[in-house]
Symmetry: none
Subunit: 404 residues, 2 copies
């Protein structure tokens, strides 16, 4: 066998960083002997997931890493979240991310309704009693989160959101352009807001919450509107039968919308408490049936919290879990991050991320550790996120030749 | 003199590789003291001739290295082959690559007519007896190869080829779109196929071949249809008076279509048995009269054969021949490959190729050998093939300033 047959693509969500404690990054401070060994036997480089200096969103980052061009296919986060929570969205649907919130006299006083945990009864009521001027699908997600999908002709994502993002008056959606579809969609969204407030206002769950001194979940704020894009299935683009192992609705949704099989893992949360050992077991199983396995591990939360030690500790845990990977010479392993989340910034940044490729056919370079600094001297130099999938499929001997 | 005046651009066809024997590549295993010396006194880098992970064809690769954008100007290999065998093609002509083949009861039983060597009598018969509904030019090339050019209004390259690529029924050309030009061209091509079978079927050459127990060359299969592109002459783009020294019709054709002078070399075959010493003498002569000399050396064949030792040996021979180059400080030398052809893959791959630039003005780096690994740590880092010519003309002090 002269080339690998399968790809294991591991994304350490937000793992990359800027120098922080004693000029080290969490990847440098963490104990990651397994990743360092992969680096020593592989080739490293740095990658601009979107473009130099452009902080990627998690959505655009994953699209880019999977070989799609976000500028062409990205319309908003809503469609991916909706697919991720299990709605069978169709191209052309208009999808929104939603928050159950607490509203008093038309003013949002808590955007997460006191971080309400179980909203399924409230969602049932919305599904049963809401009547909109188009087909719709509404589904609760983790915690205070939900998604709304509008379906039918003459709809447009070109409207303003109702979520004020901070405390303040709930927003009235307006069309962003003066066409009939946008005006109609804004009207439907405003109708949604009014009816939901009415349906939830006197709901038994909220009466109980008032008695228990909890904030009422009496409104749903919408944001991230997007038209579900036509995505050429990943398998048709690459010839690889693919599976996704992830915890967050967003990444699951990207996997589903690109035609990958989603393999759920019990206890996978996408947070630092995630069951990463369970995910690794699932990866080992998935590699027996699929030619491409996408696996996400979240270190992003610690970055957003600005917690250097938590991020370092999580990366140490990830390395220990990954060392149980059952990979042989039939598998090409790629380890990278979807973006840099400096603990000093608590937000995504546009710094390049490190990556390593390990497996048959790679030009093994002199690097011997996996981190932002060493990767910058690796044999792959610097590439774009969009180029990663062509590089990997080419290593499998399946590159798309241009010319003769 | 503060800048070089001339460029010698040497392309080692398919020379780059992946790690193979003891993790070495043929460039690492070969004895190449001359190239290593050029590297030590020059600057190195790696190059994505088309794009990361995209295996280049030899045609698109050379266009890109000469500064053209293949996605804009490449229409198919036919036009370059036709120009290369000496047909004076004109923009808008539809050109095809052809194979003399053996057909029995309409089924191709040998795509190369038993690797027939001399087809000039058969080609004479085709030129004399063929009548098509448009002007045409037909010419034999090396071995079983030939080219067909259709000329006139209302023609289109948007048709399917007649070459089945493998044994099997000779294909009927169909228009790929439903416009009159495509339908008409497909009809002409099918008419060509019918008439050629009739003209060659009873030709004396084939009667002789039958008596000698050789396969008959009684059909011509067509592929690689392309409309001859409008290429801005190389000299107008770069200000450099250019010559090409190569053996294969394809590269000679690219040179001719971009307005370079073609300097033939006796015994140059484009294969590992090529007269590379003769080519080097021609290069030395050409550098006295031209500001840009493109010189191609084939190591590609050995890569396609998967023969590590043959490739290594050929590169050793190339190095020895190149050491007779008469280059002084007026000449900038660039050494690279048009693509990687891993012996492990026997096909072009999308791995970056190494390159070196030696001459006045380059920022000499710490590298001291010419191969895929060392080049990745070179001072040029990683560039695109399309950027090479601007880099070189800029080193001559002839860069095209943008802005004031």
């Amino acid at each position: 066998m002269c080339v690998a047959k399968k790809i294991l693509f591991v994304v350490l969500d937000g793992a990359a960083d800027r120098p922080t404690v004693d000029t080290a990054t969490p990847l440098m401070a963490a104990k990651i002997p397994f990743l360092n060994q992969l680096a020593q036997q592989g080739i490293l480089g740095i990658m601009d997931v979107i473009a130099p200096g452009t902080p990627p969103g998690s959505d655009t980052a994953h699209l880019s890493l999977l070989g799609y061009t976000p500028k062409e296919v990205y319309t908003g986060r809503g469609p991916f979240e909706a697919a991720g929570v299990g709605i069978d969205v169709q191209p052309g649907d208009i999808a929104f991310r939603g928050n159950f919130a607490t509203v008093k006299d038309g003013v949002v006083i808590d955007r997460r309704a006191g971080r309400i945990n179980d909203t399924h009864k409230l969602s049932d009521a919305i599904r049963e009693q809401l009547y909109l001027d188009c087909e719709f699908l509404f589904k609760e997600s983790v915690g205070h989160r939900a998604v709304l999908v509008l379906r039918g002709a003459d709809l447009s994502p070109n409207i303003t959101q109702t979520d004020p993002q901070h405390k303040g008056r709930i927003l009235h959606s307006k069309p962003k352009s003066n066409d009939a579809s946008s005006r109609r969609t804004a009207n439907i969204v405003n109708d949604f807001t009014r009816q939901v407030c009415s349906i939830l206002g006197d709901h038994p769950v909220n009466r109980e919450r008032t008695l228990a001194n909890q904030l009422r979940a009496n409104a749903v704020l919408l944001r991230g509107a997007g038209s579900v894009p036509h995505l050429v299935p990943f398998e048709r683009r690459t010839g690889l039968n693919a599976a996704v192992i992830a915890a967050t609705a967003l990444v699951i949704g990207i996997g589903k919308l690109t035609g990958m099989k989603y393999i759920p893992t019990k206890g996978a949360t996408g947070h630092v408490d995630s069951n990463i050992e369970g995910k690794v077991k699932n990866v080992n199983k998935a590699l027996k049936q699929h030619e491409f396995v996408l696996n996400i591990k979240g270190a992003d939360e610690a970055g957003h919290d600005g917690d250097f030690n938590a991020k370092t500790h999580f990366l140490t845990r990830v390395d220990a879990a990954l060392s149980d990977l059952a990979i042989d010479e039939s598998t090409l392993v790629i380890i990278t991050a979807d973006h840099t989340t400096p603990v000093s910034l608590k937000e995504h940044s546009g710094d390049p991320v490190p990556f390593l490729i390990n497996g048959k056919g790679v030009r093994v370079d002199q690097t011997n550790a996996f981190n932002e600094y060493i990767a910058a001297s690796g044999g792959m130099n610097r590439i774009c996120g969009r180029d990663m999938m062509p590089v990997l499929t080419d290593l499998l001997g399946k590159g798309t030749k241009f010319g003769a």
